[in-house]
Amino acid sequence: MPLLSPEEFAKQKVGAVQDYAILSWQAVANLFSRPRYWADIFTQMDLIGVGSLPTIALTGFFTGSVLALQSATSLKTFGAVSMTGNLVALAMVKELGPVLTGLMLAGRNASGMASELGSMKVTEQIDAMRALGTDPVRKLVTPRLYATIIMLFFLTIIADAVGIAGGALISVTMLGMNASTYFSTSYRALQYADIVQGLTKPLFSAFIVATVGCYFGMNTKGGTQGVGRSTTQAVVVSSIFIIIVDFLVSRAMIGIFGR
């Protein structure tokens, strides 16, 4: 790669951000005008949602389990082992459920989108699609975006539930707790604000996974090597974005709800 002057470099980055913003905007807006590709939305929902279910369930389960295990050790020093359910539920619903599900989807689907669209780009299939009169953003990006938003929302709920269940299993079998104590403390721990926070985050994560994955895919250059590069970049950039946006949303929610 030739060395660029700082000015050229800055210009390129600003241009990329601009392209990303335009792509995201079009992807969102396309649903509000014809033609709409419903069949593609359902295919993608199946691919993203049903396909990710085992991964998400396993992640959620073991995260919940390990949370129970770790927090019980710390809580024991305060004589508050009975609060394990409380801690697991709060951590799962507010943070770990949304973030880990988002990250898993970034690894699984942002990469998938980047490599699929990237291959289409380098083999001129995207150009062929345009030549056949179809807007590739409408046909490829919009269905992926909406499918990811819908599915990530539900996947997060599943991860939360499975995580709490995992915590329960550990608490009962390994920590000798009573199941009903565990569930009642978890249930009482969660307030309206926590649920709202936990369910807002996946909307942002899904937007990031789909738009970043598609952006890198659609802008792939340089043959198969380029596809590999786009895929890696899509995962790295979307993961970092998810964590940063998670922080920002948390801060905003705390500002709004006070917790």
Partner: protein, 280 residues
């Protein structure tokens, strides 16, 4: 002004629209990463004309064809397709215009996750043609390229020549008013190349479609110029009396510039030293 003395097409109504060129390039230039790829390219293609584009590799032929379909926009100059300046219109309107244009890509560019049938049917699906009609038209188009047995296959299972023919079927299935063929015979054996050239000729002589065709093989270019499609026999045959097809013209590009624009006879009779060497 002396021009005023010449008979003008404009004074005869009806003639003008009929004679309006399908493709017009007016001093079109484009550069990639500061490297000029096309410089001041101008030419026009009349209705029914087949324009063969020749030139050494990397001369900008594919870029020119993508410009004609609005897939890329020039840095300067105007491109008019069916009378509309496509450098000025919005992407949305371009999609409508492209409905009248069929394109065969250099590397076929078939959708590899769709079957041959769905590839060919792609545009018909987009246009919401009823399913029964889609199937008949797809079969018809595949028959045209003699590939109806491959209808259920997927592109990775096809040979290069078959892919090229599916790509042609996909381009002609909607009966476009303009077809762009980017190197339809590139990298193929002489027999398959001849089959494909015959298809192009069939499309030219049966449907009289305006087209642009890029080729590296001079032999293919001259086959097209000097033969015609015999519908009764279903094969091509030489035009009697050493004749040439009047609707077939040439454009030769070298390093982004037009070095020749004219008929077959003019091309053969050209005295330009570079051209003579290129043709020999």
């Amino acid at each position: 002004m002396p021009q005023e003395l010449l008979p003008s097409d404009a004074v005869r109504p009806g003639r003008l629209t009929e004679k309006e060129p399908v493709v017009v390039f007016e001093s079109v230039s484009i550069a990639f990463d500061l490297k000029p790829v096309l410089e001041n390219v101008s030419f026009s293609v009349q209705p029914g004309e087949t324009r063969i584009i020749l030139g050494p590799a990397g001369g900008g032929k594919s870029v020119l064809m993508k410009l004609a379909n609005g897939l890329i926009r020039p840095d300067s100059g105007a491109i008019r397709i069916f009378g509309e300046d496509i450098t000025q219109i919005r992407e949305r309107d371009l999609y409508k215009l492209r409905g009248r244009i069929g394109m065969v890509f250099q590397e076929s560019a078939l959708f590899d996750s769709l079957s041959v049938e769905d590839n060919v049917a792609y545009r018909l699906h987009e246009e919401q043609v009823p399913p029964d009609e889609v199937h008949t038209r797809v079969v018809e188009a595949l028959k045209f390229v003699e590939l109806e047995q491959a209808i259920a296959k997927f592109p990775p299972e096809l040979s290069g020549g078959m892919r090229r023919r599916v790509s042609i079927a996909r381009a002609i299935v909607s009966n476009p008013d303009l077809i762009l063929y980017d190197s339809p015979t590139g990298g193929l054996d002489p027999i398959t190349s001849t089959t494909i050239i015959e298809l192009v000729m069939k499309e030219r002589d049966v449907n009289r479609t305006t087209s642009l065709l890029i080729t590296h093989r001079l032999q293919d270019a001259f086959t097209l110029a000097m033969n015609r499609y015999d519908r009764a026999k279903g094969t091509m045959e030489p035009i009697p009396g050493n004749g040439v097809d009047e609707g077939t013209k040439f454009l030769v590009l070298n390093e982004g510039r037009v070095v020749f624009d004219g008929t077959t006879r003019e091309l053969v009779g050209s005295t330009d030293p570079w051209l003579k060497q290129y043709l020999s």
